[in-house]
Symmetry: C2
């Protein structure tokens, strides 16, 4: 420690990922002085090791798969992807893991960046330890927002550290395709990275502990994605756990609980996330280090007047876009409370993150794509709603069969029978990634079924599935 | 004439295109006996000479363009499309211009098909002249629905008949790509067919009388589509009329009003549509043969108790999906009136085609795609709304730039400042075709801006443009 300064801000934000940036954007828009503390790259996980690089890897894979399903075009799509070119494009989309652009953005909104590790040291105070050991104390007049996100969790297997397994970071930033890749997990990271690396030249084996993939979506999502992975050449083994992993002469050797031995060049564990709250001084404010932070709908930590937890750390929805949504609301709530204004805390109010409960969308960029918003049938039933699920085979929609020969996909809407509004919608199939926002507006807008009949889908698009779902609801 | 029978139905439908089929579907669902009269193929223009074949021609073109904009994939997409394979797929999607499948569908709903030319002969009566000259008289207890659609209109140029010009029918059903094709017109058929045939091997020249393309959309739609056509190799000449057309030794010779002489192998006139009402006996019920039929919001002809005009013939919106929407409403209105039930005739009611005025969507399947719903800025201003247009450059959306390298596109939403709802939305760019339905639900659902903030677009999709538009509206 060389020096201690105490600097006072209206707001101190821990973490400069998309969530921290958006909190700062909103508090700065309200003319609150704002400090942002970041120990790694400004822009966060999403920009460098998640959304951006993964989608840069996946987009050519999906476009190639789409092209190959079209007679007249398919024959001219020869050979594999140019992996080096795809990786080079990915490197551009991560700005080569440099954050100058993002720093310029923070500067542009007038927020002060503190590079270093931030820790709470008590009520409204944060100590920042810079890379050179310098320590500064920041005091927040109104609020501290914890936006530190999550990190990958590795399973408790002996000797795992020694074999240098991949997590989502290595899987999205690798500079070459391993010859053989084992992916452990059945969620979004696992299925997306299996899709990407298989197409980029690896022979991928996917080991899934449970029965199916994408367990948080409707069951058919995981089923269709598993089919797609298998057709792309991925070996999918469900009901399989890893018993041990070693590295022998550079080769990863995986032994499964079924006694199988799998060799690979790399192994990716996509087996869960833990909050980045272990070393941010939570104990100094009466909270448990390493815990997820419980918040109310204005994103304020339960029991606190000044502490907010926004984005993945509050465990409401581990998705960049939903964290940014929370950040806009938290920033507005902080600003309103700072000015003494009344908050709009009714459902769907300006200071209430109602969508976290009712309308979280997600797109899985696999082939087929899987997209969902709101509650699945099981979730809706569990929540006590009186519901009916209406399904439709997307392959029977003209726009879908025109989109891809032999189109396979499925749609489901979950209807609240009391209010005749939609609680959730799921689309699985090629080209549905942009279709889900129609459902997000229907669910968040609580647009009644009777009005959805007047929202005419353009013919012949895949969107016409909306008409088919309404007809199926009417006729059955 | 060999014989006259008089057969009584509850409902007689003239025209078995998608619109007539949907009217029959709804009246049959209400257990009304229904006759459908068709002089050509059951399934109509859309199935054989419009939506279906045009989209079958265009889909591989668009998928190829998409693939070519992705480093790592583009290099492997070699050479032109396999035109024969594309045409063969198109032939499948038109069922080789056979309507057995559609006849089976009509049969399945229990409607009776009369093949032949139907003409009104007075109140509630229709005379059908079969292909063999047999004449039958159908009497409708409750309603006659005219769903005869439109035909292409050729300009009044001397000698045009002799050169056998293409209309939309030939353009969608041609069995080979002409070496040189002149397309006259600047609307949807012209731009889509120029896109298709240029990619399928023709050298296309597009002659547009006005200053721009796609005049019914926001001006930037036509501008971006014109750029796309030019980049694909189409010669686009705006402000150019055809003075004369002749065919000399098989070659079409076009002379323009600017004195240019253009040679081609075929010429397509996509210069407008006229209603198919010239020879359906309108004079026998006091209406003008050949006119568009004016209707109320239940699709009933003004001044009539029993005559409906549904789909293109009423000139409300010349689009298959909108005609089908009208058909559902007309069928329901016919059924309600037949049973003496009260109609739901408030705006957005079950018997009121409100979307015809407020929320007609359209997707133009060019490269880039152009999609719009509701009112353009000019239309909204002309209608007297106090509005603000909010624009956003789609190329600045992460999901768009990931979708295609060098992405170009634009979005606009037209906000009603009194009610803070959307009156219209336009998206132009690659991959926006499925995105427009989100706007259709927002416009038809009259979802307030304050609620749209809770409809979170999934990151990183093109749909994130919604967030950018909301931010632009908020901040300016």
């Amino acid at each position: 420690m060389t020096e201690t300064e105490n600097i006072v801000y209206d707001v101190v934000v821990l973490g400069a990922g998309p969530v921290g940036e958006n909190v700062a954007d909103r508090t700065r828009a309200a003319r609150l002085s704002t400090a942002v503390v970041e120990s790694e790259l400004v822009g966060g996980e999403c920009s460098y090791w998640a959304c951006m690089p993964s989608k840069a890897l996946l987009r050519p894979v999906i476009a190639q798969a789409d092209a190959r399903r079209l007679p007249g075009l398919s024959a001219s799509v020869q050979g594999p992807l140019d992996t080096a070119a795809v990786l080079a494009r990915r490197d551009e989309y991560t700005s080569h893991w440099k954050d100058d652009g993002q720093i310029g953005w923070l500067d542009g909104i007038g927020a002060d960046l503190y590079r270093g590790h931030g820790r709470l040291t008590g009520e409204r105070t944060v100590s920042v330890t810079g890379p050179d050991g310098t320590r500064q104390t920041l005091t927040a007049r109104h609020a501290v927002a914890v936006c530190t996100g999550t990190r990958a969790v590795l399973p408790d297997l002996p000797g795992l550290d020694g074999i240098k397994p991949w997590t989502s970071r290595e899987a999205t930033s690798a500079q070459a395709a391993p010859g053989r890749l084992v992916v452990v997990g059945g969620g979004v990271v696992a299925t997306e990275m299996a899709t990407a690396w298989q197409a980029l030249g690896s022979r991928v084996t996917l080991l899934v502990r449970g029965k199916g993939l994408l367990n948080r979506m409707e069951p058919f999502a995981g089923e269709l994605v598993a089919e797609g992975l298998a057709e792309a050449g991925v070996t999918v083994r469900t009901g399989t756990s890893v018993e041990s992993v070693t590295r022998q002469d550079g080769t990863v050797v995986v032994v499964t609980d079924t006694g199988d031995r799998i060799e690979a060049d790399e192994i990716l564990f996509a087996t869960g996330r833990a909050p980045h709250t272990g070393d941010i001084g939570l104990d100094t404010v009466g909270l448990e280090p390493g815990s997820w932070l419980e918040v109310d709908d204005s994103l304020r930590v339960t029991g606190s007047e000044w502490l907010y937890a926004v984005g993945d750390v509050n465990h409401r929805a581990l998705l960049t876009h939903q964290g940014k949504y929370q950040a806009r609301i938290a920033g507005a709530a902080i600003a309103a409370r700072a000015s003494g204004a009344a908050l709009s805390q009714d459902a769907w109010g300006a200071h209430t993150a109602t969508a976290d409960h009712a309308a979280v969308p997600q797109v899985v960029f696999t082939d087929p794509e899987a997209a969902a918003v709101g509650l699945s049938l099981a979730e809706a039933e569990q929540a006590g709603h009186r519901v009916r699920a209406v399904d439709y085979d997307l392959g029977n929609v003209s726009g879908a069969s025109l989109y891809a020969e032999g189109y396979r996909g499925r749609a489901r809407m979950v209807v609240d029978l009391e209010r005749e509004i939609l609680l959730g919608v799921t689309f699985v199939g090629p080209g549905v990634g942009e279709l889900i926002h129609s459902a997000t507006i229907a669910v968040a807008g609580q647009v009644p079924i009777s009005r959805l009949w007047h929202a005419v889908p353009s013919y012949p698009t895949i969107s016409e599935v909306w008409l088919r779902l309404l007809e199926a609801y009417r006729d059955n």
